[in-house]
Amino acid sequence: MKLLTGNDLKSGAVTWWTGQDWSLHVEDAVDVGEHGEPILAREEALRRVNTPAIIDAVATPDGPRPAHIKHRIRALGPTVRPDLTLKPADPDAGGWVI
């Protein structure tokens, strides 16, 4: 599957395209198939996202899992600071990244 992701223009936070809006949580991301480019162009022009990109992901029961480790680290947070990730209380979160 294909996901749209970028950073929020004002805060820099990693965001994922949900079909209507941008979410901080990769679980909310939708498969855009071959239709990502026009959405990216529109959203960037609206300044709702900075440096957006289309990335590969794999559908899993827990939601989309980006194919590349870089995007999994973006989705969660730094692996060396679990306390600063989106799931500080989840001991298995690091395993999802690696």
Binding site: G12, A13, I73, R74, P78, T79, V80, R81
Partner: protein
């Protein structure tokens, strides 16, 4: 320490206002990211993996308590309670919001700090010896010269649109503590034929995908020609540097392609053309600056010893052995505060720790601090009589790890945990190595051993000049690590050699251990890892690593 004059303050304040307006226009949509990116980079603002990242300049690594306290305030207010010292003596905050960046710069300006020229194709922060002004082995204080270069290179119109970034290092000791020969220009204060102190000039060092050790261009330059000679070097590069290819644009490639001799000839020729119209040397400005680097009011007649009762404490004694260096003033010592605690992230420092170090500097070190290229912090002038009290205060805050220059004092870039250019994580590798060699007696037995780790070929973690270097690469989407041996970033500078096929994360930690075990078998009494490597060569290590 240098105090801003009216001009310094005005240009920094004006830059804050300018950037505030640029940021407003970006958020309002008047500027696209393509238009804005070069503007934010000129102010040290990157977009990294999780947020914007701000790199704050620490000119020649020197800070006051007030400045450190401000860095702590920024960490707490605008980032996530910590900052990170880089291998060029600067400080980075990894969790910055664009909309708050102008406010941060405004706050920094109130303590004479900024982020100007910490990124982009500009002359970057001047780095210098973190023991400057204190070291027993320096022939003169390099800081007045470093400050002069800082002023001259700030917003210099001719050098604002370079082919690539440009880094200058300045040192005044035979012991190179700033990795000078890995810089575009390495300046060393040396005595000339008539005894006057001038500069030995090397050009064309660098890391990145094509590493080079800087080449000797001039053994002695009379000091009054410093600025014109640097200008001649930069003019030759500005004219012939490869603007067509980002990977070939650095001056190191020009020096290499032309050869040191031909490059030198061109620089000298350019310089001769400049000499007739060379502006008079700004002696008055240098004098004005130099006064501000006058030695602090050291007490004289202090006992040059450490209280034996205190030194009987083995933990304190260890710290004295590794983290305390000779000062040129009897009764004083230089203290290195290790930011490499077991399990920690090299170079990271919390807001609380920044504030504590500010207090301790004010109390024990004439209000001076230094950041080091090895990502530690130095308190340069501490009375020997105060060492024990200082150590206790540091220890209570987790800042008294006794490991400077040992195997766990690892230089490491942020890598894939933070950096958008990374191929692999570098911090976890450093943590695993430090953990593997956590036992103090084992570290001490190994002696000086410098491990340096980068998460990609850009080499911010100096892997090319590590005694042992590690480079993270992307192998078909998985993290992989190459091992390098035999580099040095000191006065005996050398580039490390890749051992062979790469490893996964645990594999490279094992390979480092096999390398070190082979060293233990081969070394002679008191011989450092690097010297054993140089004596016996690459093969015995390769055999130990790959069997």
């Amino acid at each position: 320490m240098y105090k801003y004059d009216r001009f310094d303050q005005e240009i920094v304040d004006a830059r804050v206002d300018e950037f505030r307006d640029q940021t407003r226009r970006r958020i309002a949509g008047e500027l696209s990211e393509d238009q804005f990116k070069p503007l934010r980079l000129k102010n040290g603002l990157y977009l990294q993996l999780h947020a914007y990242m701000l790199r704050v300049a620490v000119p020649y690594g020197m800070m006051s308590g007030r400045q450190l306290r401000m860095l702590g305030h920024i960490a707490r207010t605008y980032s996530r309670d910590y900052g990170h010292f880089t291998t060029r003596q600067n400080m980075q905050f990894h969790w910055i919001k664009l909309e708050q960046a102008p406010d941060i710069l405004a706050e920094l300006a109130t303590v004479e700090m900024h982020a100007i020229q910490t990124s982009g194709e500009s002359i970057r922060n001047i780095s210098s010896d973190h023991f400057a002004g204190a070291a027993a082995d320096e022939i003169a204080d390099p800081r007045p010269w470093a400050e002069l270069i800082r002023q001259w290179t700030t917003f210099h119109p001719e050098f604002s649109y370079f082919p690539r970034k440009f880094k200058i290092a300045l040192t005044a000791s035979d012991n190179d503590r700033v990795a000078a020969l890995s810089h575009d220009i390495a300046l060393k204060l040396v005595p000339g034929p008539d005894g006057e102190i001038g500069f030995c000039v090397h050009v064309g060092g660098g890391m990145g995908r094509t590493p080079f050790i800087a080449k000797l261009v001039r053994p002695y330059l009379p000091p009054q020609h410093l600025l014109s000679y640097i200008a001649a070097i930069m003019r030759v590069w500005n004219r012939y540097g490869r603007r067509d290819n980002i990977h070939k644009a650095r001056i190191k490639i020009l020096v290499h392609d032309l050869g040191a001799e031909e490059f030198t000839r061109q620089v000298e020729e350019e310089w001769q053309l400049m000499l007739p119209t060379e502006p008079p040397f700004p002696q008055a400005e240098l004098d004005r600056i130099a006064v501000q680097f006058a030695p602090p009011p050291f007490e004289t007649g202090l006992a040059d010893t450490i209280d034996p009762a205190a030194a009987a404490d083995p933990a304190f004694a260890r710290w004295l052995t590794h983290n305390v260096h000779a000062h040129r003033q009897p009764g004083y010592a230089i203290v290195t505060v290790s930011l490499k605690p077991p399990g920690g992230i090299p170079g990271d420092i919390t807001a609380d720790q920044l504030e504590l170090l500010a207090d301790l500097a004010e109390r024990y070190a004439f209000d001076e601090l230094r950041s080091t290229h090895a990502q530690n912090v130095v308190l340069p002038h501490v009375r020997k009589a105060d060492l024990h009290a200082l150590w206790q205060a540091l220890d209570a805050a987790g800042l008294a790890t006794a490991n400077v220059d040992l195997v766990s004092d690892i230089i490491v870039c942020p890598g894939l945990d933070y950096c958008s250019l990374a191929n692999a994580r570098s911090i976890p590798v450093a943590q695993k190595i430090a953990d593997r060699f956590a036992d103090y007696d084992r570290q001490k037995d190994l002696g000086e051993l410098k491990i340096k780790i980068s998460g990609c070929i850009n080499a911010c973690g100096h892997h090319h000049v590590g005694h042992i270097g590690i480079l993270g690469v992307d192998r078909k989407g998985t993290e992989n690590y190459q091992l390098l041996l035999g580099g040095s970033g000191a006065e005996d500078a050398a580039l490390a050699k890749i051992t062979g096929p790469g490893f996964d994360e645990d594999g490279v930690v094992d390979a480092v251990e096999r390398t070190i075990e082979r060293y233990r078998q081969l070394r002679t009494e008191g011989e450092r890892f690097l010297d054993t490597y140089r004596r016996v060569g690459f093969e015995p290590f390769k055999e130990a690593i790959y069997g």
